[in-house]
């Protein structure tokens, strides 16, 4: 037994070492440039692809290793010069959107260049056997070599940062960028070096994990999420923290998978242990993260002396200044949109294309989800990167209830909203203790946690998800199998929710949310319990999204963990931003544009994500305010009542200062 334990411990350390290589680059860029770079996983993938290709070409593992490092260093340099440096001054939301765009581009470009079939990396002959580290427990030599290589790179990194002049400049730039550049140091060059260094570390990590993982387009995305957990646990900007956290996460994850079942069998019945343990094991590191963040919101070992500049408020990217180019078409456009939604089933019937109704239904459901996200993202300025979580929860509540024989929508749907709201209350209670980048990471990690949790629900389909055998019933009032009835039900819900959203935004509560977005500290100083306001906003938003999930489960007749996938969260975010933040019109038009474009492009080519990613990057740089900005009324036009409201709201609080 203890031999096995040593073996599992080594497995954990090996995972930890890889995670450290990934997290080191991330933590440096976060800490020094205050940059959220979700494209870091793509560098992991590129390192693996380029290194392995070169290795297969030359037959030398060492040359492949060198190629992976050098190539990703250069790619990192090019990325920094061309795109990333333009993001330093942008909001975190812009950074997330742009780097997600880069992920799409890199993944699809890789698929086009190398084909969809995975690449298999050979293990060098020298390391292909196994070593008896302890007698009786052979351990694969390659994995030992991975641990050694990872530790060696970590040591080199330590020497570089702590003992060399370049390292000193990096540290100086991190602790005070303005002062460093005043002293004549080229801070831009330092940023470029740090970013490329991080890229090379990710590339090397990708290459050395290639033989034990499959090299395929998108392979870096899962590693990225784990690396983000490491980052949050360790403390952002701290290399030492990343090292400790990486080993901790690696070991806990591996040991949890191996032993949790046996441990739980001691207290629970074997059947219960079999059900609960795998779910808990895959959620373990996320729970660990939540616990650590609850007690130490800055992470285990926060970087000392870091004075990060306040990220530009999300408000900066909000609201068009002048009238949109198409401002005069605003009323006709809204009329067209409304009329289009209203008449769609009729038109589809005339054109004999019932599929349009399904498509329209899908747009409406995602519009509801986007609308709910907009309440926290657009109105409150909380960049939640895990909102699809509640889409999944809503869907699972319907699925599980239907499986248990409860088929009434009158029970299912409110319960879906209630469960989402309760979960949101618990998760946001932890998540809202953090802010900025931490908040993005932790919402992402919570969504991943529930994703893995749902994947372990063996009785409800596990990874596969499950087929919804019966759509919700409404005591004979409505038949969801009639696609027209279902469509109009969803449309009515959307209209009601959009109306409620507009009322909410103009209420005192909504004003307070906007105030938090613009300047939370001031709101707090003025006496608003901002934490409670944000919590309530998150709960409302989750409840609405849960309803969207209930609708989605019925529309797709399917419930599965993929509803909670982080790409789904990114999609929701893209819809909101592309449509325009802080307006219900934006969320609706964003959902329509996103799904329409996806359908259109994916019919053209299977490589549609390349164009999609490029559009996303362009949107960040050119498309300020999103689609709805095109139709924005002139200042002094319709938007005035909201401003009036805000003055009315502001007066009693600000008068004493005058």
């Amino acid at each position: 037994m203890h031999l096995l334990f040593v073996e599992q411990l080594l497995n954990g350390v090996q995972l930890g070492v890889i995670l450290f290589l990934m997290a080191a680059g991330l933590t440096l860029t976060f800490g020094i440039m205050n940059l959220v770079n979700l494209a870091h996983g793509s560098l992991f993938m590129l390192g693996a692809y380029l290194g392995v290709t070169f290795q297969l070409l030359t037959g030398s593992f060492v040359l492949g290793f060198a190629c992976a490092g050098i190539a990703t260093f250069l790619i990192g340099l090019a990325m920094e010069r061309l795109v990333i440096r333009r993001l330093y001054a942008r909001s975190h939301l812009d950074q997330v959107m742009c780097t997600v765009g880069l992920v799409y581009v890199f993944n699809e470009a890789t698929r086009m260049a190398f084909g969809p079939e995975p690449l298999h990396a050979p293990i060098p002959a020298l390391l292909s056997g196994s070593v008896e580290l302890i007698p009786g427990a052979p351990y694969p030599a390659y994995r030992l070599a991975m641990i050694a290589a990872g530790l060696a790179i970590a040591a080199l990194l330590y020497v570089l940062i702590a003992r060399t002049r370049t390292g000193m400049l990096i540290r100086a730039g991190a602790s005070n960028r303005v002062m460093t550049s005043v002293l004549g140091v080229n801070i831009g060059a330092i940023y470029a070096v740090v970013f490329s260094l991080g890229a090379a570390l990710a590339g090397l990590a990708g290459f050395i994990s290639a033989p034990i993982l499959t090299v395929y387009p998108g392979m870096g995305d899962n590693v990225l999420i784990l690396a983000l957990v490491v980052l949050v646990v360790g403390g952002m900007g701290s290399v030492k923290g990343a090292f400790v956290a990486a080993l901790l996460v690696g070991v806990i994850d591996t040991i949890g998978r191996a032993y949790l079942k046996d441990l739980m069998a001691l207290v629970l019945s074997p059947v219960a242990a079999n059900t609960v343990a795998p779910a808990l094991a895959s959620m373990l590191i996320y729970i660990l993260m939540a616990v650590i963040l609850f007690f130490r919101p800055e992470g285990l070992i926060p970087a000392a002396g870091l004075r990060r500049p306040e990220a530009p408020s999300e408000a900066a990217s909000l609201g068009p200044q002048g009238p949109g180019v198409l401002a005069r078409w605003r009323v006709p456009a809204i009329g067209l949109l409304g009329g289009g939604f209203l008449l769609l089933p009729l038109v589809a019937g005339l054109a004999d294309s019932p599929f349009w109704v399904d498509m329209g239904l899908r747009v409406i459901i995602f519009a509801i989800a986007a609308l709910s996200l907009d309440l926290i993202l657009g109105q409150t300025g909380l960049v939640s990167f895990g909102h699809a979580l509640y889409l999944g929860i809503g869907a699972y509540v319907v699925g599980i209830l239907a499986d248990a024989g409860v088929e009434s929508g009158f029970v299912q749907w409110p319960l879906a909203m209630a469960v989402s709201a309760l979960l949101a209350a618990a998760l946001s209670f932890v998540a809202l203790r953090t802010s900025g980048t931490f908040f993005i990471m932790i919402t992402l990690a919570f969504a991943q946690m529930m994703f893995y949790g749902a994947s372990s629900l063996y009785d409800y389909g596990g990874d596969d998800g499950m087929h919804l055998t019966v759509r919700s019933t409404f005591a004979g009032l409505l038949d969801l199998y009639d696609s027209t009835q279902f469509y109009y039900l969803a449309l009515a819900l959307l209209v009601v929710l959009a109306g409620l959203n507009m009322r909410l935004v103009r209420s005192r509560f909504g004003m307070a949310l906007r105030g938090i977005r613009v300047n939370e500290r001031r709101m707090e100083a003025v006496g608003f319990p901002t934490f409670r306001y944000k919590l309530v906003a998150c709960v409302i938003s989750a409840a609405v999204c849960g309803l969207a999930g209930a609708l989605l489960a019925n529309a797709a007749e399917f419930v599965g963990p993929q509803y909670m996938d982080w790409t789904r969260s990114a999609e929701l975010m893209i819809m909101v931003v592309a449509g325009g933040l802080a307006t219900p019109f934006g969320a609706i038009i964003g959902a329509l544009a996103y799904l329409g474009l996806e359908k259109y492009l994916s019919d053209l080519t299977i490589h549609w994500r390349l164009a999609f990613g490029a559009l996303l990057i362009l949107l960040v740089f050119l498309g300020r305010g999103g689609l709805s900005a095109l139709f924005a009324p002139a200042p002094g036009g319709e938007a005035v009542p909201a401003h009036k409201g805000s003055f009315r709201w502001a007066r009693p609080f600000f008068r004493p200062r005058a």
């Binding site: 096995l4 497995n11 298999h120 056997g129 998108g218 893995y452 919804l468 599965g560 994916s602």
Partner: protein, 387 residues
């Protein structure tokens, strides 16, 4: 610019191509991107070869194919299938590949009159209680290849078997199939996440359990990595590996010599001596430059099956009942030598165990070792109300 894209989207929706009356429309849903991409490539090549063998037509009719990419995701597959049936009005739907996708697609399609030809996936519910007159499986019910291996290991007198599979519908079907004929207690039963490719922790546990044999179900790359890591951990010699849907001609080049000696349960093998198979294998290799695997073989049969039904009705796609009868008759030259349908539209066929060996030219091939079951029927057909 975005507005123009939106507009063009709207326009392209409005100008959807009007349906042509006299072509046979076949929709194909495959996981062209994602975990199943390599399998999809085999299947696509097989469809193209089958059409070439049929002279590009079915029963004298032009054939129009609609291809789409499910990404291996059940909800995407469901959406695509609805579109195929409701909007593109396909007569036959080939795919989707994975059982999870098939389960998501099946309920909705059973309410339409489209014929679903499942080249691979045969989930237990569709073979039994929720069987449907318009659903035809071409490979086997999910449990069955595992049943064959269970019977084989029972016959060999092996007592201690460790089972590892993907945690999904197909995985569970495989395990229940295996247990049906294998009577001893399993020493380990491990389910891993779909897409997991690093099995270090699980293999360490496996070694400690010291089984006599290991049975796995890991399609595609998961299997490639598993077999390699199994060999690296030094287990191949001490504990023979038995697989279903894992080690085949498509994955062998990637696994390499680590796969030698691995045995699997199948209904088809590259060396089956019937004429249809010899022609299929030779032409497939010549056309594509790589050897076909089971996925390709069964997809090839799927197209021949459709073609036989279209021929039987003289290309008149409105005669749904006659098409259904013709599909059930399955009058085509299968590369399995013989092919017949049971009442639930799942095949009655023979099961073999095959072994990976190094051919005389140094190429790894699967060689049929033994026939395990003859004219076997699946375990669920009596639950199916179809006659």
């Amino acid at each position: 610019m975005k507005a123009s894209i939106l507009l063009s989207t709207a326009l392209s929706l409005l100008c959807a191509v009007p349906a042509m009356a006299d072509t046979v429309k076949v929709g194909v849903i495959l996981p062209q991107t994602g975990v199943g991409a390599a399998l999809a490539k085999q299947m696509q090549a097989a469809i193209e070869l089958a059409m070439a063998h049929e002279g590009g037509k079915m029963g004298g009719q032009e054939v129009e194919f609609f291809w789409s990419d499910s990404q291996g995701k059940a909800d995407v597959a469901k959406q695509l299938a609805d579109e195929m049936v409701k909007s593109k009005r396909v007569d036959f739907l080939v795919g989707p590949l994975f059982s999870s996708e098939m389960m998501a697609v099946h309920g909705g399609l059973a309410r339409t009159d489209a014929f679903v030809i499942s080249p691979i996936s045969g989930p237990a519910p569709i073979a039994g209680k929720s069987c449907s007159a318009n659903f035809f499986n071409v490979s086997s019910q999910n449990d069955q290849q595992a049943e064959a291996l269970g019977a084989y290991l029972e016959k060999l007198g092996v007592k201690r078997v460790y089972v590892m599979t993907v945690n999904n519908q197909a995985g569970k079907d495989m395990v229940s199939g295996f247990k049906r004929n294998f009577k001893s207690e399993l020493v380990g039963e491990v389910y891993t996440r779909f897409g997991q490719v690093d099995f270090a922790a699980e293999l360490s546990a496996l070694r400690t359990a010291a089984p006599e044999a290991t049975f796995i179900f890991y399609p595609g790359d998961m299997g490639v990595q598993f077999v390699k890591q199994y060999a690296q951990a030094g287990l191949t010699k001490s504990t023979p590996l038995y697989t279903v849907w894992t080690v085949d001609q498509a994955t062998l080049p990637a696994v390499g010599d680590d796969a030698i000696g691995v045995r699997s349960g199948n209904v088809w093998s590259i060396d089956l001596p019937n004429a249809a198979n010899v022609r299929f294998v030779a032409d497939f290799k010549q056309k594509n430059g790589f050897l076909p695997n089971d996925y390709a073989a069964h997809t090839y049969d799927s197209i021949l099956l459709i073609s036989s039904a279209v021929k039987a009705v003289g290309g008149d796609m409105s005669r749904k009942d006659d098409i259904r009868k013709a599909l059930k008759k399955a009058d085509f030259a299968s590369n399995r030598g013989k092919f017949a349908y049971n009442t639930n539209n799942f095949p009655i066929e023979d099961y073999y165990v095959r072994e990976v060996v190094k051919g005389p030219d140094g190429v790894l091939v699967t060689k049929t070792a033994e026939k395990i079951m003859t004219d076997a029927k699946d375990a669920y057909y009596q639950e199916c109300p179809l006659k």
